[in-house]
């Protein structure tokens, strides 16, 4: 037991001295989550719109009601100002995405058939389009209201899609999109957490192979200890590293990127443990076949990247064939668990992926036990 403890402690000490490895395990996943999560982010963010309403007439009043309504606030962030100059200033300074000014005599002019709302488009076309779509709803209301009044015929309001009509980004983010029920940030945070857990598992087999290649294994084998307890300690160290790595990724993405990981941290921990254990065992199994440090690094990296790809960790929505293949990967079941936790899934929804992931880990442990001697000696 003491051998395992010393082995764990010294392996952790050794890891803390390897800055490049730490950088790869901790900084790289955060960077990738940031790049992919934001790059493919399709969540709707309100457009900042500066509004001046100078008109005290009926339409000015209706405009004020429109911009102050909660429904409008879901799509644009309204900042009311007291002059048209302030609108111009905000747009020039980039403090706002779009500017709207309802002139003082707008109601009168509109009734006379010439009234115009002054608009100030910003630098981003996508944001301008979003703001103009909202504005068109207001002007549409004016027109239908005016026409129905003039003709004495009631005209129904335009139908608005349930999830809203302002969408920005390259991919539509709703319940039917490639990312499933989670946002792109959640999706990639989960995918890259799992992928880097695989890589930290590989580090255990590499460390084991280094003992062999650098000659320390000869000394260890000549010591009054059982090699199994020494290796157990080493593997425990890498599980601890995986837990720390996950904690850093989860907390950082939660508080800095705003990723919602759900509240079930117990299941997240269990997912991390099972994934890390599977990865360590798989890397040892590979080490027992290829039997050199560099070969383990190459083969395992390839396996990890392929599994990540098949499980959709690099690109969402790859089609049914690849998705079916992805179901045979560690990543798929670990991601399923994490995404279910993120969306507040209940125990009955967590059971299946949890059992499958536990079965994968158990299978790899058994296989690893039959192969470990070949990997080491």
């Amino acid at each position: 037991m003491r051998t395992a403890i010393y082995s764990t402690l010294y392996e952790l000490l050794r890891m803390t001295r390897m800055r490049s490895v730490l950088l790869m395990l901790f900084a790289l996943p955060l960077l990738l989550i940031f790049l992919l999560g934001y790059g493919l982010d399709t969540t709707i963010r309100p457009v900042d719109v500066t509004v001046y309403i100078g008109d005290d007439g009926m339409l000015g009043e209706r405009s004020r009601e429109f911009f102050e309504a909660d429904e409008t606030g879901e799509h644009i962030q309204v900042k009311m100002v007291s002059s048209q100059d302030e609108v111009e200033k905000d747009i020039r300074a980039g403090a706002s995405d779009y500017g709207i000014a309802v002139p003082a005599d707008f109601t009168e002019q509109f009734m006379a058939g010439s009234g115009k709302i002054v608009t100030y488009p910003g630098k981003l076309m996508e944001r301008n389009m979003a703001a103009e779509t909202v504005l068109s709803k207001l002007t549409g209301q004016f027109e239908t209201g005016y026409l129905s009044e003039a003709m004495g015929v009631p005209i129904p309001e335009r139908e608005v899609p349930e999830e809203g009509y302002v969408q920005t980004g390259t991919i539509v983010a709703n319940g039917n999109a490639e990312f499933g029920p989670v946002s792109s940030l959640q999706y990639y945070a989960s995918a890259y957490l799992v992928m880097f857990l695989l890589f930290s598992g590989m580090a255990a087999a590499i460390s084991m192979m280094e003992e062999k290649e650098y000659g320390t294994l000869s000394r260890l084998l000549s010591l009054p200890l059982t090699l199994s307890s020494f290796l157990l300690g080493k593997f425990i160290a890498y599980i601890i590293i995986a837990v720390i790595q996950s904690a850093v990724i989860v907390l950082f993405t939660r508080y800095v990127y705003g990723v919602d990981w759900g509240g079930n941290y117990g299941v997240i921990l269990l997912t991390v443990l099972l994934t890390s254990l599977s990865a360590i065992c798989l890397s040892v199994i590979i080490a027992s076949i290829v039997r050199s440090r560099k070969a383990v690094e190459s083969v395992f990296s390839m396996v990890a990247v392929i599994m990540t790809f098949l499980s959709g960790g690099m690109m969402a929505g790859l089609g049914p064939v690849i998705e079916t293949a992805g179901r045979f990967t560690i990543n798929h079941w670990a991601n399923e668990l994490l995404k279910t936790v993120m969306t507040g899934g209940v125990w009955s929804e967590l059971q299946q992926p949890l059992l499958v992931l536990a079965a994968i880990a158990a299978g790899f442990i058994l296989l690893m036990l039959t192969r470990i001697r070949k990997a080491v000696v």
Binding site: S222, L223, P224
Partner: protein, 313 residues
């Protein structure tokens, strides 16, 4: 008294017999040099002794314990200095020695004292917080030794401990080996450097093709191969009577007359001879100008036994 004993030990890899029915005894307190070209079986022999490999047949005992039956008891008595630098580059010298000390079961004050002692013994105390990556080759080799001796083993196995280091570090290591031996450790030493083995070993075993082909101290090995010690005498003048009388001495197996009143005597057996020869010279009125003795060296012994030079492998 036999401290390490191999009895009919066999180890094969596939069809190749790496160690072929090895029987060998090493006495307590001796420095035993194990020589052999690459592939001779000496590393396999050492690895079986240290518990890194299991023998296919035969028994190995250390201090009365059977290696196969009591591996942990034996491992506590052994310190292995592997040929590779079995140290961690990410740890300091002190952390390296402490780590292995803990794995040997040392704790607390005893551990701290032994680590201090091992670092001091190998001359690394001043560099205890340095990492091996900043050390010279010789310092790394010394750290390799420190990690193997901090538990004061009764048997130290050194597998090529001076490979690739400067002469100063080599001398330091050889002196350390002598000192460890003086402190009571039995030492098994393998090296490609014949002069090292010659300088420190009390006995030498020569392996080739998995077999022990010669065993003994240098004189015994010399006799075994028919090689003689030589005595070279230079006198002030020649004397045929004196030469004839010296030739008849029972220890002189051969005599060659060289230029400049010089005689080269082959000495075949143990026993006194120098007093007799000086007496003969004196009796014939010859003055001795120069006297040298040449022992058979291990390199030529090895060459004669195996038909190849040690470093050729």
């Amino acid at each position: 008294m036999s401290f390490v004993h191999f009895e009919e030990v066999v180890k094969s890899y596939g069809t190749k017999m790496s160690v072929n029915h090895l029987t060998l005894s090493i006495r307590e307190g001796e420095v035993f040099g194990l020589l052999g070209p690459n592939g001779a079986g000496k590393s396999t022999t050492i690895h079986m002794l240290a518990g890194l490999l299991k023998s296919d047949a035969g028994t190995i005992t250390v201090d009365g314990y059977n290696v196969a039956k009591r591996p942990l008891d034996i491992k506590r008595r052994i310190g292995l200095v592997p040929q590779e630098l079995a140290i961690y580059e990410q740890f300091t010298a002190r952390e390296n020695v402490t780590f292995f000390g803990r794995l040997y079961g040392l704790r607390g004050k005893e551990l701290r004292e032994r680590v201090e002692e091992a670092l001091d013994f190998t001359g690394l105390l001043e560099h205890d917080n340095g990492r091996p990556s900043t050390f010279s080759g010789g310092m790394k080799r010394r750290l390799n030794i420190a990690c193997a001796i901090m538990h004061r083993p009764k048997l130290i196995i050194m597998d090529e401990p001076t490979v690739g280091i400067d002469p100063q570090s080599r001398n330091h290591i050889l002196e350390s080996v002598r000192e460890l031996n003086r402190l009571g450790s039995t030492i098994i030493y393998t090296s490609h450097y014949m002069e090292e083995v010659e300088a420190i070993s009390t006995r030498v075993g020569i392996m080739d093709g998995g077999r022990l082909i010669a065993l003994g101290d240098k004189e015994e090995l010399g006799r075994l191969t028919g090689q003689e010690s030589k005595l070279i005498l230079q006198t002030d003048r020649g004397s045929e009577e004196a030469v004839a009388e010296i030739r008849r001495h029972p220890r002189v197996s051969s005599l060659r007359e060289l230029e400049g009143h010089t005689l080269e005597l082959g000495l075949s057996e143990a026993g006194t001879y120098l007093q007799d020869i000086l007496f003969i010279l004196g009796k014939h009125g010859l003055a001795l100008l120069k006297l040298t003795r040449e022992e058979p060296d291990l390199e030529s012994l090895f060459l004669q036994l195996t038909g190849r030079s040690l470093r050729d492998g």
